[in-house]
Symmetry: C2
Subunit: 394 residues, 2 copies
Amino acid sequence: MTYTAPAGMGRLEGATRTWPDHRLTFGPDAPLALESGAELWPLALAYQTYGRLNAARTNAILVAHALTGDQFVADPHPITGKPGWWEIMVGPGKPLDTERYFIICVNVIGGCMGSSGPKDINPATGRPYGLSFPMITIADMVNAQVRVLDHLGIDRLFSVIGGSMGGMQVLQFAARYPERVFSALPIATAAHHTAQNIAFHEVGRQAIMADPDWCGGDYLLDNKLPARGLAVARMAAHITYLSESALHRKFGRNLQDRPKLSFAFDADFQVESYLRHQGLSFVERFDANSYLYITRAMDYFDLAADYGGKLANAFAGVKTRFCVVSFTSDWLFPTAESKTLVHAFNAAGAPVSYVEIASDKGHDAFLLDEPEFHATVTAFLNGAANLAGLTDRA
Amino acid sequence: MTYTAPAGMGRLEGATRTWPDHRLTFGPDAPLALESGAELWPLALAYQTYGRLNAARTNAILVAHALTGDQFVADPHPITGKPGWWEIMVGPGKPLDTERYFIICVNVIGGCMGSSGPKDINPATGRPYGLSFPMITIADMVNAQVRVLDHLGIDRLFSVIGGSMGGMQVLQFAARYPERVFSALPIATAAHHTAQNIAFHEVGRQAIMADPDWCGGDYLLDNKLPARGLAVARMAAHITYLSESALHRKFGRNLQDRPKLSFAFDADFQVESYLRHQGLSFVERFDANSYLYITRAMDYFDLAADYGGKLANAFAGVKTRFCVVSFTSDWLFPTAESKTLVHAFNAAGAPVSYVEIASDKGHDAFLLDEPEFHATVTAFLNGAANLAGLTDRA
């Protein structure tokens, strides 16, 4: 049983338009079997598409979004009204050229933009799940996305691409469904979360859980919102997305709208004001429990562990062509992690190219104006398209 | 008017002994003029000493403690009962040899271990200061410490040493009172706080202020404690004290007392359990408002700005002999900041030696068992003692 939900079911207070544009739901006859052993139903999968699927259904690229991303890759976010998070990459004539490729992005399960997540109603109780939502993993996210591909009749993706947690999904997809993807671009990512990665996420989770308005996860029932905790979590995480030099270049020790230090706890420094803004604006668009679930999924990710402790085993016999990209100043998913990936692809005999982009923008570089990165993606996809015989415009 | 307070005035619930052992207080006739323009009185200065002051009063070393440190350098902490924070460095036969040197450490103003801070009673209101405590700076801390030196009849220190915020005080002391210090060791420090440093501190402050039990700073009045916010602040900060490789070595992705992932929000990973413990144990011994004030003092520190924008100006004509030490894996106060210091000393013509210690322990390396660091301090102090004619045992 597969059906497309009516438009408008995602309408939210403050939303600028109805959303999602596309949403699949699955009932108790088609639950999603999760890695935890639980089964998830109803399963909702909200997604956006850009460009046109060609007649042979061979020009599809799946974009996997990051922790706080969503399916609004290249059209305005329905709550914030801001441009899509990867408009710089996706559109006519851009690296993910919508005149050539059919782009799909699915909100991850556990998320809060239309796919099943902890703010949904738990059919067993009739109340929002909160912490009764089952724990999800990167593999679960990918398995859910395959449902969308099946629905669209796409047997094989031309490519799958994503940065950060999106890159984890890329790796997971290629390891689990190698026959369903011709090429893959894991960007600014890693095959596992390190102790430091887990530590930063744990701080964020503790900040949320420390907020009394979190209510043990049942804040929706109590008509509350752990806004302060979620804002602190976002602030802490945001620092890790930028390099020290990017922060220095953008803010240094510049003061915020004042000629001298206030000798008070106001946001004297621009960087403080910026961080506070990041925290506050995040709360408007993101669900606190989703943040808990998705950070946990990232922490749990350890692809080698799923394949007998050897990462190369995950890609044994895989014919997918990989392009690994990292950024020199990314200290959250440092270049060394990408090199580990490359070694694993090499050991597995999988075709791989690797580009380390010199950038001082830190982890977030994959979201920003980095011409060398964009040129890399364009060139890799062009080459792959030629190999795949994908020569025509869609 | 200077007097030593009676023993036992620092007795706290849960304290293992009375403290501080030494405490000076100054009344309205001798307030401390602060950089903000405010005057602080009563001014209390709690301090510990180790070793004996020689007859000529020439063998004194001032140890400046870090953000969450205190004066209990080499004797058990009166609240936690744990060993002093620098017992590895201070004692008979150790680098700061108490058979040779007289060691002094003063709790910084703004602190919570006996020196004036926001948990004291505001004489203007008869209630705990909270946020009515005046903002303090690194220079204010140093000016307060000079009161202790005056009280002890020490015109000139043999040395001043400190790591992290302690190192900021070392720099400030040498810049402001060069004639009062023969040698100085700024360790794992910088002449200013960077945007990233400020950002991490701001997250901690926001975590504390987001806790409803902070009560706008008046939690003592309300008999509350912003324990959750302070714990989150400590957790976030603690990550910055360790290198990624140290976290990997200590914890990796090891699980905490369980054979496999729980698929829940328990502390599955050892690093989570460790961080939670760090947060909880910090709350027992540290005042939340002190954390706000002292982090702010660090953020405000910008020695070059105080000297016309040129760091070398701060040390023009200074005869103090410097030994700068940094640790390769310290990303909070990276080696580059120490090199900036060395360049400034060179430009000012001040004698300086610089040692970069190869360590994977991160910023906290200065507190840990780092034989090369300890050997560096021993050798530098021996050489300086010879130059100072400090040849006899105390």
